[in-house]
């Protein structure tokens, strides 16, 4: 039989058709909800688009504005960087500390593990953000406790420009659950023998932590660091709910994604918002690249043959 194009196609379909049918639900979602919008936003970032009239090509104008003139964007970047640089290291430190406590065979350890993980399940939800606003409000539980213990009348944390971001950082740290679980798994991989050998070598607990736990955990720390950094750059819900969608007070909680959202859906500058989205992607990519680039100096992999 001569090999025609339609013949090849039908043979291909016979061989692989079922596989593609199984793939279809994901494929539709990926093309329609991820790849499509991504490509569309790339195009839109070079246009003026108000969601109502069709987009008009404007070249690099959006990027020019972002780089040269948008002072609110500068503020949003500062807020976001502050948030990332504080919340990620602190969250990882808390996660590692608790993982090390839970790594010892304490009675009822699985109960504690589940309990400590709980905030992370609820963490990014609207309900928790609402709860946070109540806790850190002027008459919130935090201030009531503070008054009871010290007699000091605390400020309204969430509505004070100096403190609002801090409450969000605390909220982020509180969601240490998933890095903690990953650290716990990593700690379980460190052979007990090494600690015994080190203790016979006279190493104190701190020296064992620095010379054995940290280096052997480095791949896991690296993984958590990259993941949490990306996560933190994308933070949105907490700031949106706590500030009532404004990024206030005085733009002190204006996260990058929140600003982007405002531009897109409050100010209807979808073209500009698309440009912002692509800039965020570049920022995250740079941070991730830095992490990967430096990793060879501080991450040791068991199977490397160096």
């Amino acid at each position: 039989m001569p090999s025609t194009a339609s013949g090849r196609l039908s043979r291909f379909w016979q061989k692989n058709g079922a596989g593609y049918m199984f793939l279809l639900p994901w494929l539709i979602g990926f093309l329609g909800l991820t790849l499509g919008p991504t490509l569309a936003s790339f195009y839109l970032s070079f246009t003026d688009y108000d969601l109502l009239t069709s987009p008009r090509w404007s070249g690099l104008k959006n990027y020019e504005y972002a780089f040269l003139y948008d002072r609110r964007l500068g503020n949003a970047i500062e807020v976001t960087f502050t948030y990332v640089l504080w919340s990620v290291p602190l969250k990882l430190a808390v996660a590692l500390g608790l993982a090390m406590v839970l790594d010892r065979s304490v009675r009822g350890v699985s109960f504690y593990r589940a309990t400590f993980y709980l905030p992370s399940l609820l963490g990014a939800s609207v309900a928790i953000a609402v709860l946070w606003r109540q806790l850190f409000g002027a008459d919130g539980l935090v201030n009531q406790l503070l008054f009871m213990v010290t007699g000091i009348q605390g400020p309204a944390w969430v509505t004070h420009p100096d403190y609002a971001l801090s409450t969000l950082i605390v909220l982020a740290i509180w969601q240490f659950g998933s890095p903690m679980i990953i650290f716990l798994a990593g700690l379980r991989q460190v052979p007990q023998d090494l600690y015994e050998a080190a203790s016979m070598d006279g190493a104190s607990g701190w020296r064992q932590f620095r010379k054995i736990t940290l280096p052997l955990l480095a791949p896991v720390i690296f993984f958590n660091l990259v993941l949490q950094t990306i996560e933190a750059f994308k933070a949105f819900t907490q700031a949106y709910i706590v500030s009532g969608g404004t990024g206030g007070p005085v733009d002190s909680t204006l996260f990058y994604s929140l600003y982007l959202y405002e531009e897109a859906f409050a100010n209807f500058r979808m073209g500009y918002a698309s440009a912002l989205a692509w800039l965020l992607l570049v920022i995250i990519a740079i941070f991730t690249a830095i992490a990967f680039g430096t990793s060879k100096y501080w991450v040791y992999y068991e199977d490397e043959s160096r």
Partner: protein, 361 residues
């Protein structure tokens, strides 16, 4: 260099007692091997000496001082682990230096000690590599090197050869022996392998279920085992055991009838009583093939293993038991042959119902 004394040492995990009051004295410079089947407590005992396991009761004394409450580091011992426990992210040099750096030794001294250890163990060219790039035998050397540089009072070895293949194990055995002759340090070596115990030890401690069964030099234990357990544990192939009963007593002499109906007469250190149940223990090399109508046992050869230098023959007895016979050289024996066996020179042990020895060979 140190002397170690264990005084009624007990280990309990919760309500479970795994070490039942061990008394033991290890002299300065002695090479002592703890041997026993898995779960006998030998590793636990070693870890208690090391300070890695708490002592539930009794005292561990080094050079006369009770060290129960001293941390592992302060006891100035070094341990070689079964898994080697090398720090995987550090070079061999760093591995060797770790303990000395921890103690705050000067850099020059550290370098010199590493050089010494590397010379002894011939690992000079490995110093900059990481453990992952070493073979099992090389890792073992590094682990021993890490112990040497610390110049410990006592070396502790926890089944250090069990992860090596047979040939390497033999080689390392010889090297450890040589190391002991060179350093003359007190060494305690844990193993479940009786060959290692026999070849390495000045003194063997046989343990079972958290108790000492017998302590002695390798040949003392081989020639004069205190009980059936020690007799069976040391020696390869294993000692043969035959059940029997005392049928007639004449002073220090008595007749014994074996379970298979065979009879023999032997002497006893103290007169036994008629009807007493006994177990005869005969080493495979003390059973000799003899001509038709002679000997004590008769049976059919099941398997004959030709090892070249010697032949192991497994003989099925009519009563269902099996005995192993070791014949020097290459015996012309095959499966299915009938074999008559004599107890060469009356070299057999007799054990009582309490498994303790009554008569040595």
């Amino acid at each position: 260099m140190a002397e170690l004394v264990l005084n009624k040492v007990v280990k309990e995990f919760g309500n479970l007692r795994v070490i039942h009051g061990i008394d033991l004295q290890i002299r300065d410079g002695e090479f002592v091997v703890f041997v026993g089947p898995s779960g006998c407590g030998k590793s636990t005992l070693l870890r208690m000496i090391a300070g890695l396991e708490e002592i539930s009761d009794g005292d561990v004394m080094i050079d006369g001082d009770v060290v129960n409450d001293l941390s592992a580091a302060k006891r100035e011992l070094a341990m070689v682990f079964q898994s080697y426990a090398l720090y995987p992210h550090m070079s061999v040099r760093k591995n060797l230096a770790f303990g000395l750096e921890t103690m705050g030794a000067p850099k020059a001294e550290i370098a010199q000690k590493i050089q010494q250890a590397a010379d002894i163990l011939q690992i000079n060219e490995l110093l900059e590599r990481k453990p992952g790039q070493l073979s099992g035998g090389q890792r073992q050397r590094v682990a021993i090197g890490r112990a040497i540089v610390r110049e410990p009072r006592i070396f502790l070895f926890d089944e250090p050869l069990s992860n090596l293949d047979a040939e390497l194990r033999m080689q390392m055995r010889v090297e450890i022996n040589r190391l002991h002759q060179r350093l003359r340090s007190t060494m305690i070596f844990v193993t479940h392998d009786q060959v290692e115990a026999m070849t390495l030890a000045d003194k063997i401690v046989v343990l079972r279920a958290g108790r000492i069964e017998q302590v002695g030099t390798p040949l003392e234990l081989y020639n004069k085992p205190a009980n059936i357990f020690v007799a069976g544990f040391l020696g390869s192939p294993r000692m043969n055991f035959l059940k029997g009963r005392v049928t007639g007593v004449d002073g220090h002499h008595a007749d014994i009838e074996l379970a298979g109906g065979q009879r023999l007469t032997t002497d006893f250190p103290a007169p036994p009583t008629t009807g007493e149940e006994v177990t005869l223990g005969i080493r495979p090399e003390d059973l000799t093939p003899v001509g038709e109508g002679e000997g004590v046992l008769t049976g059919e050869v099941q398997i004959a293993e030709q090892l070249g230098g010697e032949t192991y023959v497994y003989v099925a007895l009519p009563d269902g038991g099996t005995v192993t016979v070791e014949i020097k050289g290459q015996a012309k024996i095959a499966a299915g042959d009938r074999l008559n066996l004599a107890f060469e020179g009356g070299k057999f042990h007799i054990f009582g119902t309490d498994e303790k020895v009554i008569r040595h060979a």
